[in-house]
C-alpha cells in the first residue's frame, strides 16, 4: 500500500475540494439542526493544513505527522468538531508512537496497523465526546469505518475491496443519522425535531473519508 506521508498534499487537496463542493448542502444541514458553522469551521482547519502540506509530506514518521495534523485541527477549527478531529489525530499519533510503526523513507503503513491506530483514534473521540454510535454524530460514520478497516485487516481482503467497504460503511453510517434523534451536540436540543435531517458532522466525515479513499484508489491503480 502506498499510504505514505508524501500523499498528504493530494489528500488534503481532495478534502478541500469535496468540502468546498458540498459546502452549501452541509451548511444547510448544520443550520437545520445546529448553528450553521460546521463548514466554516472545517475549512479553517483545511486551510491551515494546506498551508502546512509540504511540511507534512516531509514529516519523519506517522506519529509526528498525525500529531501535527491533530494540533492544527485542534487550534484552527474550534467548536465541537475541532476538538474531536484534534482528539482523533492526536490519539492516532499516540497509538502510532506506542507501536512499531514502519519508519524509513517510505514509512508505508500496513492495513492492520492502520486499522488499529485509527480505531484508537475513534475510541478517543468517543471518550472526548462522551458519545457512541446512534447519537447522530460523526461517530456514526467513524465507528463503522473503523470496524470495516479492522474487519478487512483480519480477513485480509484485497485493498481495493477494503476501500470499497470503507466507502460503503461511511455512506451507510452517514445515511443512518437521518432517522436518529440527536442525543449529543447542539442538535440534541431539538429532541424529536432533530429527526429527519442528516447530521452535518457525519456528512463531512463521510465526504472526507470518501475523498481520501478516492485519492488512495487512484494511487492504487496508477501508483505515483
Amino acid at each position: 500500500m502506498q499510504f505514505v506521508p508524501a500523499l498528504l498534499p493530494r489528500l488534503i487537496q481532495a478534502i478541500d475540494n469535496v468540502i468546498e463542493a458540498n459546502a452549501e448542502e452541509v451548511t444547510a444541514l448544520d443550520q437545520a439542526i445546529g448553528d450553521g458553522d460546521h463548514v466554516t469551521n472545517l475549512q479553517r482547519g483545511i486551510k491551515a493544513l494546506t498551508a502546512q502540506s509540504d511540511e507534512l509530506a516531509a514529516q519523519l514518521d506517522w506519529a509526528a505527522t498525525w500529531q501535527k495534523i491533530g494540533m492544527t485541527m485542534m487550534t484552527a477549527v474550534g467548536g465541537a468538531s475541532g476538538s474531536l478531529y484534534g482528539t482523533l489525530f492526536v490519539a492516532m499519533s499516540k497509538a502510532a508512537r506506542e507501536r512499531p510503526v514502519v519508519s524509513g523513507v517510505e514509512r508505508a503503513l500496513d492495513l492492520q496497523t492502520f486499522a488499529e491506530i485509527f480505531s484508537s483514534g475513534v475510541d478517543a473521540v468517543k471518550l472526548r465526546g462522551k458519545a457512541d454510535a446512534g447519537e447522530k454524530t460523526m461517530l456514526d460514520v467513524l465507528i463503522p469505518v473503523a470496524a470495516s478497516l479492522r474487519q478487512a485487516a483480519t480477513d485480509s481482503v484485497a485493498l481495493s475491496d477494503v476501500l470499497k467497504n470503507v466507502v460503503q460503511a461511511a455512506i451507510t453510517g452517514m445515511e443512518s443519522t437521518r432517522d436518529m434523534v440527536a442525543t449529543k451536540g447542539r442538535a440534541s436540543f431539538l429532541e424529536e425535531r432533530s429527526r429527519g435531517h442528516i447530521d452535518a458532522g457525519a456528512k463531512t466525515s463521510q465526504l472526507m473519508i470518501c475523498a481520501l479513499v478516492g485519492v488512495l484508489t487512484e494511487n492504487l491503480t496508477t501508483p505515483s
Binding site: T27, Q31, G34, D35, G36, D37, T40, N41, R44, M74, T75, A76, V77, G78, G79, A80, S81, G82, S83, L84, G86, T87, R128, G129, E135, T183, K184, G185, R186, S188, F189, L190, R193
Partner: protein, 329 residues
C-alpha cells in the same frame, strides 16, 4: 444581510482590536492566539479566572475581564468554541500562583476544548461548568446549556477570587451559584451569522421560539406569538418550577436582551417578571437589565433568576471594573 463589516475573515480581529483600544485602560488583547487579559497585575496567589466561548455573544466574556471579575477571556470564532491553545496561552499569561479556574458554558464544543486545555495545563486547575438554562430537564442527554446566568457566576466568583479565596473555594462557590441560578429565553427572530449571510432559522410572523439557545439553536418549542405577560409567565414559570424559591428569599433578576430588542421592551419584561415573583413572595433586591449575553442580532430576551443569600449578595455588590460592569470604583 447587511452588516457593518469589511469582510468575514477580518471581522473578528478588527472588532477585538477596537474593543481593546476602547478599553485600553483595563484590558489588553493578544492577537496570536486570541485572548483578552486584564492589565493591572493581580495579587500573588490569586486564583486566575478564565472564561471563553464563541464570539457573537458580546459583551460576554471579554466585557467581563477586569478587576473583580475575569482575569482573561478567550473569544472563539463566531458561535464557535475557542481552541485549547488560546486557553493555554491565556492561562500562562494570567496564572499567578493560585491556579486556574476555567468557567465554561455547558456546550459540547466549549466543554471539550476546555477539557483538552485542562489536560495540558501543568498548574493546579479546576473547571466550573455553568448550566443555568432550564429549557431542558437536568436529565437532558448533554445536560443543560450555560447561558445568561454565566455572568452572575463570573461576577460572584470573581469577587471571591479578588478577596483571596483559594481554587477549591472558588470552584465550590461557582457550583453553588450555578445551582441557584436559572434562565430561559425566547426568540422573536433568528440571528444571522455573518459567514452564512442568512438567518439561522426561519420563523413566522406570528411565531416565537421558546427556550432558544444563545446561538439561535432552537429550544423547547415553537409557539404562537403572545402577549408579554404570557411570555413572562411561561419563562418565569419554568424558572420558578426549577428553583422553587422560598417566600422571603432574596434574588437578583436579570433580563438579558439577545441583541436586537429595544431596552424599552427589556424594562417592560423586567416589570412583568418582578411582579411575577413579588406575587410569590420573592424579594427581588438586585437587577440587571440590558444586552449582556447576546446572539448577534437576534430579537428576544432571556430571564434569569439567581437566589442570592447574604454572602452571595455581598460578592455581587463587591467592586468590579470591567468594560461592561462597573461599580464601587
Amino acid at each position: 444581510m447587511k452588516k457593518l463589516i469589511n469582510n468575514i475573515d477580518t471581522l473578528l480581529d478588527e472588532s477585538l482590536s477596537g474593543f481593546a483600544k476602547a478599553h485600553a485602560d483595563i484590558i489588553q488583547f493578544n492577537a496570536q492566539p486570541h485572548f483578552v487579559k486584564r492589565i493591572k497585575p493581580t495579587a500573588p496567589g490569586k486564583v486566575a479566572l478564565i472564561s471563553g466561548g464563541g464570539s457573537g455573544h458580546e459583551p460576554l466574556h471579554t466585557g467581563f475581564v477586569g478587576s473583580g471579575m475575569l482575569d482573561a477571556a478567550c473569544p472563539g470564532q463566531i458561535f464557535t468554541s475557542p481552541t485549547p491553545d488560546q486557553m493555554l496561552a491565556a492561562a500562562q499569561a494570567v496564572e499567578n500562583g493560585g491556579g486556574v479556574l476555567f468557567i465554561v458554558k455547558n456546550y459540547a464544543g466549549d466543554v471539550m476544548n476546555f477539557e483538552i486545555a485542562a489536560e495540558m495545563l501543568d498548574c493546579p486547575h479546576e473547571t466550573l461548568l455553568v448550566s443555568d438554562d432550564v429549557s431542558f430537564p437536568k436529565t437532558h442527554s448533554t445536560g443543560r446549556r450555560g447561558v445568561a446566568g454565566t455572568l452572575i457566576v463570573e461576577k460572584i466568583v470573581g469577587a471571591a477570587a479578588e478577596s483571596g479565596a483559594d481554587l477549591a473555594t472558588c470552584k465550590a462557590l461557582g457550583d453553588r451559584v450555578n445551582l441557584v441560578t436559572a434562565s430561559m429565553g425566547v426568540a422573536l427572530s433568528s440571528c444571522t451569522v455573518p459567514a452564512l449571510g442568512k438567518p439561522t432559522f426561519d420563523i413566522g410572523d406570528n411565531e416565537i421560539e421558546m427556550g432558544v439557545g444563545i446561538h439561535g439553536e432552537r429550544g423547547r418549542e415553537r409557539r404562537a406569538m403572545s402577549s408579554a405577560t404570557e411570555i413572562v409567565d411561561y419563562l418565569a414559570g419554568s424558572i420558578d418550577d426549577d428553583l422553587k424559591p422560598q417566600k422571603g428569599q432574596s434574588a437578583l433578576l436579570h433580563i438579558n436582551g439577545f441583541g436586537a430588542t429595544p431596552l424599552m421592551e427589556l424594562h417592560l419584561i423586567y416589570e412583568l417578571a418582578s411582579r411575577f415573583w413579588e406575587k410569590r413572595g420573592v424579594n427581588i433586591c438586585r437587577s440587571l437589565v440590558g444586552n449582556y449575553t447576546t446572539s448577534l442580532d437576534m430579537a428576544g430576551c432571556s430571564i434569569t433568576l439567581s437566589l442570592l443569600d447574604d454572602e452571595l449578595l455581598r460578592l455581587w455588590d463587591a467592586p468590579v471594573h470591567t468594560a461592561t460592569l462597573r461599580w464601587g470604583c
